[in-house]
Symmetry: C2
Subunit: 237 residues, 2 copies
Amino acid sequence: MKHSLVAVEPNGHICSDCSVRKFSVCASLDANEVRDFEHLGRHVAFAPCETIFSEEELTSSFYNVLDGVMRLYKLLPDGRRQIVGFALPGDFLGMNISGRHNFSADAIGPVIVCQFPKAAFARFIEEKPHLLRRINELAIRELSQARDHMVLLGRRSAEEKVATFLLCWRERLILLYGPSNTVPLPMSRQDIADFLGLTIETVSRTFTKLERDRIIEIIPGGISFLDLARAEALAAA
Amino acid sequence: MKHSLVAVEPNGHICSDCSVRKFSVCASLDANEVRDFEHLGRHVAFAPCETIFSEEELTSSFYNVLDGVMRLYKLLPDGRRQIVGFALPGDFLGMNISGRHNFSADAIGPVIVCQFPKAAFARFIEEKPHLLRRINELAIRELSQARDHMVLLGRRSAEEKVATFLLCWRERLILLYGPSNTVPLPMSRQDIADFLGLTIETVSRTFTKLERDRIIEIIPGGISFLDLARAEALAAA
DNA sequence: GATGGCAGTTGACTCAGATCAAACGGGGCG
DNA sequence: CGCCCCGTTTGATCTGAGTCAACTGCCATC
């Protein structure tokens, strides 16, 4: 846990140039609104493994991921961990009704976020129903993903879980960075295990099995798909 | 699967008298808006085991549960089922972004819903940001519950799952009907199993074990808590 | 008050994935 | 270069929950 590198660009950023704008909440804002919006958020960088916010902590800000990957997780009192998602550029974090975060978030690699003070953001949204609609849309999309993940956790085998994870992760990266059969995996095996409800050993063995079956190739920092069709068959089944 | 009993009250209902109003989306509407809202929805009754809507079906309506219990579930192609939630009076169903339902819903016992044609509802919401805010609030609450359920599915033992389920179900019923240590369970053992990512046999055995340990008592159509503190200890651990 | 059916329970056995333990391997550093 | 560290892989064994099968008990129907 290194210390944070605060405020990389002390309000010198320009939202209209922002690379994740079209994926993000801000997609719903027009040119004038974006200008106002700019004064609201500021860019903050986090070092690998740094915590952006913790479960049960009072929510003081919302976050828009600009660059990097985060793991979002919940801990049981005895230390068991369930990763409830990975956040990528464009993801919007921090909404809740209790006033406290309901999961923790930390940076996997270096991360840059656009941070909005909660109160100012709430005020800004007040008169912008289209922004609210956009946030609602994102929440509903996440809800749908959460339900899909419940099916995976409750009813799928280890091999199905891993295949599904790799394919879904690939899809997300394609949306952001364009098509490729090579899939970087910035998170550790332990992270993948805690996301899929498995142990690290099972994840590792399953990777090896998929490679032995010539479905994937394990490369440093990721995998490469050799046979997408068979991977999809495993995931669908 | 019996045939449906349509439109119990062909628009003779009065929203201002509605028993679930304070729990529901409609809580955000003022007296005038409720009057307009009345013309939008109509009450529809469903017989036990009837399907309200199916996954992948085009969304033509939204639903507000007025009475009864529904199971919300997703099926894998080979028939494995994951119940993603149970809907109780006050729950609002049908929101999605794809235009298709992303899970199926059927009645467990007799169910009455308030059904809103999608288009009319969308038009109504257009100029009512507070209603949108209320819907967003409900979505965020559900998202939080979904994440809690992921932890349960991915990281908890059978006994912890069952104890947690019974306690959570009790909490929901208390909110609606007031405190009681007796907890009706209208859903079948199979439903509970498919909700918790277990088999029916494991659910049954775990119930028996909890009863043998004098934590619960199994009664027809439900259970009764004998030792809430120990149940909570099991669920928390 | 027999009969059939279905939800739930119980028992015996199996197995997928967990646990425990050891080995591997690549990158950083003295 | 050699050593260590740590994330990962592999192997051996164990076990919690799944599977398969039989049984119970409660209605519903005749």
